[in-house]
């Protein structure tokens, strides 16, 4: 019953569905109308919905988020595209001081149903500032929700759920998976706020999100060949975390390894490790280990394969966990 889509095309279809459903939804960002976005995620939307609702903005990220806030105060539901992960920082103040806090600052009176789409992560051989994984900044910011999709089905449904949410949502899209195809079901399998246990494991569980879910699945496959039962959880929601699911897999497999592309130091793996250890101290046979990028600025493309966590590094961590 599902249709096959590439992940980017699934987001496109999800945006289209959300815009058709609610005329207050509009999409805004740099080069998203005529060009359809540098990744073509908004391709065709301007033709379908017009340039009042698919808006090529001036080149100013603070302006994009700041004006989206004004639009939301007026009753619109803006979906902002940030062209690349490394270009969200000029909007940081508008995101953390305004977008995240407006509801609390106004005693709950002013909701800002805004989605900020960010193509994230490396692995596409890009130049500097085009490969960053900055979810930890936003996950540390109270007032935001941060989600990350890893496959076309989630991409299609999660973007619609994010748009339907009355809270601001930072929506991460794994850019190196934009062209990966998969089945998209008509109905969402779960809410925006749940992690997905993609594979159960009894020896160890890998926890990943976005681009590293595929890495984790490949590592779990390799481990199976070596006779180990390694589970895989796709976080989907980074903030808040789906702690019940994490607790369950930790209790079941006694060992957890978190895999993400962000630097490990204060990456989301740190929070997951701290939380799981607090919640499941006696269940754990090894510390929760983290596999992330090294704690460096993202290096030149030539070096990115050595920089990003890959199957080998995940397996190394699984080994380390198993030998504790």
């Amino acid at each position: 019953m599902g249709t096959r889509y590439a992940l980017g095309a699934a987001i496109n279809a999800g945006l289209r569905a959300a815009m058709a459903r609610d005329e207050k939804v509009l999409v805004m960002g740099e080069d998203i109308a005529a060009l359809g976005g540098v990744f073509r995620v908004t391709d065709g939307l301007a033709a379908e919905f017009g340039t009042d609702r698919v808006v090529d903005t001036p080149l100013a990220e603070s302006g994009i988020v700041g004006t989206a806030i004004g639009l939301a105060l007026r009753g619109y539901r803006p979906v902002c595209e940030i062209q690349f992960d490394g270009f969200v920082y000029p909007a940081f103040d508008q995101i953390v001081s305004q977008l995240a806090k407006m509801r609390a600052r106004s005693q709950g009176r002013l909701s800002l149903p805004i989605v900020i789409r960010i193509p994230v992560g490396g692995g596409i051989g890009a130049v500097e500032h085009h490969s960053e994984s900055n979810e930890a900044y936003f996950a540390h910011t109270a007032g935001l929700r941060v989600v990350s999709c890893s496959n076309p089905d989630d991409a299609f449904h999660m973007i619609q759920q994010a748009i339907a949410s009355d809270d601001p949502v930072i929506f991460y899209e794994p850019k190196r998976r934009y062209w990966d195809k998969g089945e998209v079901l008509d109905e969402p399998s779960r809410s925006l706020h749940e992690a997905a246990v993609l594979r159960e494991g009894t020896d160890c569980t890998l926890v990943a999100h976005g681009p590293t879910v595929a890495t984790a699945l490949a590592a779990a496959d390799a481990a199976r060949e070596d006779g180990f039962s390694v589970g895989v959880v796709d976080l989907r929601t980074i903030s808040p975390l789906d702690v019940p699911t994490l607790r369950k897999v930790a209790a079941a497999s006694h060992r957890v390894v978190v895999v993400h592309e962000a630097s490990t130091f204060l990456g989301i793996g740190a929070e997951i490790a701290a939380t799981i250890t607090e919640e499941c101290f006696y269940d754990l046979e090894a510390p929760v280990l983290r596999v992330g990028a090294y704690n460096l600025p993202y290096p030149p493309a030539h070096m990115e394969d050595d920089f990003l966590p890959d199957v080998d590094r995940v397996l190394e961590a699984v080994d380390a966990s198993l030998s504790f």
């Binding site: 509009l26 009042d52 903005t57 001036p58 100013a60 603070s62 302006g63 988020v65 700041g66 004006t67 989206a68 806030i69 004004g70 639009l71 939301a72 105060l73 007026r74 009753g75 619109y76 000029p90 103040d93 508008q94 001081s97 305004q98 509801r103 609390a104 600052r105 106004s106 005693q107 709950g108 009176r109 002013l110 909701s111 149903p113 109270a142 007032g143 929700r145 949410s165 009355d166 809270d167 706020h193 808040p240 702690v243």
Partner: protein, 391 residues
């Protein structure tokens, strides 16, 4: 292509000595290449009533609407009284902080009164007079400064957005809101207030540019009160702000911000123009923060008594009172206003003391619109701790 005539004029740079320097005379090119855009002439601030309360030439030409003048005067008197009470309440420990609008009443009252109530306002943080004119109660205005809430009022009621303390951020919100107004095909106008200091922020300039590029119905109202805490306007900018307007393609206005009738007239004019779809405007109102930056500030550290005295002589309320009296408004009016002011002051003091804060528990309820597990569990922790302490 021919050389454009204006290229032939060797205009000196603003802020540098007049005349041609050695650089601009050494070659035949120099004449052709004198900076083609030099400072567009700064205009003096528009006035209808001068510092002595006399009508200017323009004022005489236009005439005075005495009912309007009395209304604006009353607004200003009450706003000033709110400031006096606010400062006193702060000194008594009833408010944590108070930011005085003292001296800026004309700029605020004159501008907000030129709007329709359906026009949304995005204030900065010093716009108490604006808030009063929009019917926001003293309690709601003081709530934030008493430390019991982050904001005081419901924008759905007053059509005034909550204060923005991160300088300049509200100008982008106003611009986005104005985009929505246009999408709605409405003729509402959006007004946003900001200071001379905030004008240096990237956000404010992004907003100018964005609004101009989009031809959006927004009025940027700058209260140039000559200071950003201890920093004079000269540190912030080379040219007066109203000159910057044209650079972005905004209609620019310069007004004596201590002349409430002039502010009202200029704003009404600008707003009508914006409402008619002619694109955004920027109004620079020259005024002065007669008190310190806030109740915590010590302005003696950075400004002279002379400067203060000079501006005290331009007090917007005194000036208008003189005009009213010379226009035949008699003591009855002033006596009645005095009584109203005293009653208002009592009300302010009373309202302040009724402001009690909520428990932290409400912040857990207010942070997200939809259920959030961290809010639920930490709220429960908090409530348990609180109840334990109370018990």
């Amino acid at each position: 292509m021919a050389v454009h005539p204006t290229m032939l004029a060797a205009d000196p740079m603003p802020g540098t000595s007049e005349g041609t320097s050695s650089v601009t005379t050494i070659s035949p090119l120099a004449t052709l290449l004198a900076a083609q855009q030099t400072d567009p002439t700064s205009t003096p601030p528009f006035q209808l009533v001068d510092e002595h309360g006399d009508l200017t030439a323009a004022g005489r030409e236009v005439g005075v609407d005495l009912d309007l003048a009395k209304d604006l005067h009353a607004d200003m008197v009450l706003a000033r009284r709110l400031d006096q009470e606010g400062l006193a309440l702060q000194r008594q420990g009833e408010l944590h902080l108070w930011l005085m609008a003292w001296g800026q009443e004309a700029a605020q009252v004159g501008s907000v009164r030129a709007l329709q109530l359906s026009d949304r306002v995005f204030p900065s943080y010093r716009e108490h007079a604006v808030a009063l004119c929009r019917g926001i109660s003293p309690a709601d205005i003081m709530r934030q400064w008493r430390g019991v809430a982050h904001s005081g009022w419901d924008p759905a009621e007053s059509n005034v957005h909550i204060n923005s303390l991160v300088l300049g951020t509200q100008t982008l919100h106003a611009t986005g809101y104005a985009t929505g107004v246009r999408l709605d095909r409405s003729d509402e106008v959006v007004m946003t207030y900001f200071g001379d200091g905030a004008a240096s922020q990237g956000d404010v300039n992004e907003a100018f540019n964005w609004a101009a590029a989009g031809g959006l119905p927004v009025v940027f109202f700058c209260q140039n009160n000559q200071w950003a805490i201890s920093t004079p306007t000269a540190t912030q900018m080379r040219t007066p702000l109203h000159v910057r307007a044209a650079g972005f393609g905004l209609a620019g206005y310069h007004v004596d911000g201590n002349d409430v009738l002039a502010v009202h007239a200029v704003t009404q004019h600008a707003v009508a123009r914006v409402r008619a779809g002619e694109g955004p405007a920027l109004i620079e109102a020259q005024t002065y923060r007669l008190a310190g930056h806030s109740s915590s500030d010590d302005p003696k550290r950075y400004r002279t008594d002379d400067e203060l005295a000079g501006w005290q002589a331009k007090d917007p309320i005194v000036r208008l009172e003189r005009l009213l009296r010379s226009s035949g408004v008699d003591d009855t009016y002033f006596d009645e206003l005095q009584a109203r002011e005293e009653a208002f002051a009592a009300e302010v003091r009373e309202q302040c003391k009724t402001l009690h804060g909520d428990d932290l528990a409400v912040v857990f309820d207010h942070t997200y619109a939809e259920p959030h597990p961290v809010m639920e569990s930490e709220r429960a922790q908090h409530v348990a701790r609180r109840d334990r302490t109370v018990a």
